[in-house]
Amino acid sequence: MKRIVVVGGGVAGTLTANYLASHLRDEIREKRISITLISDKDKQLYEPGLLYLIFNRLYESDIFMPIKYLVDPLIDLKIETATKIDLDNEKVYTDKNGYDYDYLVIATGSRVVPEEIPGLTEAGYWFYNYEGAVKLREALANFAGGKIVVSVMGVPHKCPVAPIEVTFMLHDFLKLHGIRDKSQIVYTYPINKVFTMDPVAEMVERMFEERGIEYRTFFNPIEVDAKNRKIITLEGEEESFDLLISIPPHKGAKIIFDSGIGDKSGFVPTDRFTLRVEGYDNAYAVGDATNLPVSKAGSVAHFEAEVVSENIAAEIKGYPPTAVYTGKAFCFIETGFEEATYIWFDYYTPPMPVKPNKFVHWMKMAYNKAYWLTARGIL
């Protein structure tokens, strides 16, 4: 029997496992193939929901789901903490067991490391994990006016457009509470525009100006002075704040460091087209875990999962594996509480946002509910 092991129970891992089960249904029933999904958590978090959680527009019950309800019954789900991946000996170790594999899918994600910016954990907030979002929800509910800085503090980070979305939503939130005129919103970004991609940056800069949102560019924080409540940058600048919403630096999962299979930031060197781990024919990386210069976003994980599952299934069935990942990504961009736009792009096609409108916003609101169908491999 050939064994497929998927490490990671987020979007990338769950989807890859479910797609594999769908492609290999007969082979699994005939006990020629097994699929094991290893997740260290028994519930999956719909991470895009954190953007809504901080404004009380989604709740815990909307954004957590037991993984056992998401995976195909043909998948052997193990709620265990994977501790080491041995690519040369084709084995994954957990806190309880060891799993030999014939095919491996690494879907171990990324995580925020606010501790890497001195002072940030004392003085800053973030919404890029659940614990941080809960604290920020409380801080926003109690905010009575002042200067809020939304600061992107590291690259790469999950969901590249979320800092823009939180800024627009913050503007509407403060207006709703009658304190926008007592507040200053400042957005900071590491490069010389408010977003990496020109068509988006041009639209957002114009919309920031219309809303009286200030922005600073070429702004790369290296320290937060918690006592004097100001940010200090790599470029030698300072910015004061009353409330700091940071997008902290990200790193790959601890297991990638412990296994010695990542780059300096803990991301796995991955072929940009085949998604194979560099140097290994039977190991793949998907989602945030890769070192690819593509967005760390659920849609990327989704499209990558399609490619990897098709190619592994093809090899098992004896066909040539011909699926190719072309860098495809799709992102909704909320431009407030009422409207949104979206972009799609790939290695060859730059994005072109549509004019923000209510329809796209309601599509996003619907998708926030429909995501669980995506995780199941249906939508």
């Binding site: 590249p160 490069i191 991609m197 070429f218 300096k264 930031s265 210069p293 967005s295 290695y347 994005p351």
Partner: protein, 78 residues
């Protein structure tokens, strides 16, 4: 004279997060004195990256146009 790079970042085909962001990540990770080379097929990198290097106070060794892409070579100075 061609300077030998300590690290080459192939960011060709990248729109997001973008070649400059890859360079900033590398600048944070590498030691002072190291030479980092970014390959970008995005023409704006040839302008944007030198602009950031100047503001951040690092040394721009050169921008070299190759077949369909640019090589931007930077030394971390602080």
């Amino acid at each position: 004279m061609e300077v030998k790079s300590d690290r080459v970042i192939d960011a060709r085909g990248s729109y997001c997060p973008g070649p400059l962001m890859e360079l900033i990540k590398a600048i944070k990770e590498e030691e002072v004195g190291k030479v980092i080379e970014v390959w970008s097929s995005d023409k704006s990198s040839a302008k944007d990256i030198p602009e950031w290097v100047k503001k951040a106070g690092h040394e721009l060794i050169g921008v070299f146009e190759e077949d369909g892409y640019w090589r931007i070579v930077v030394r971390k100075t602080k």
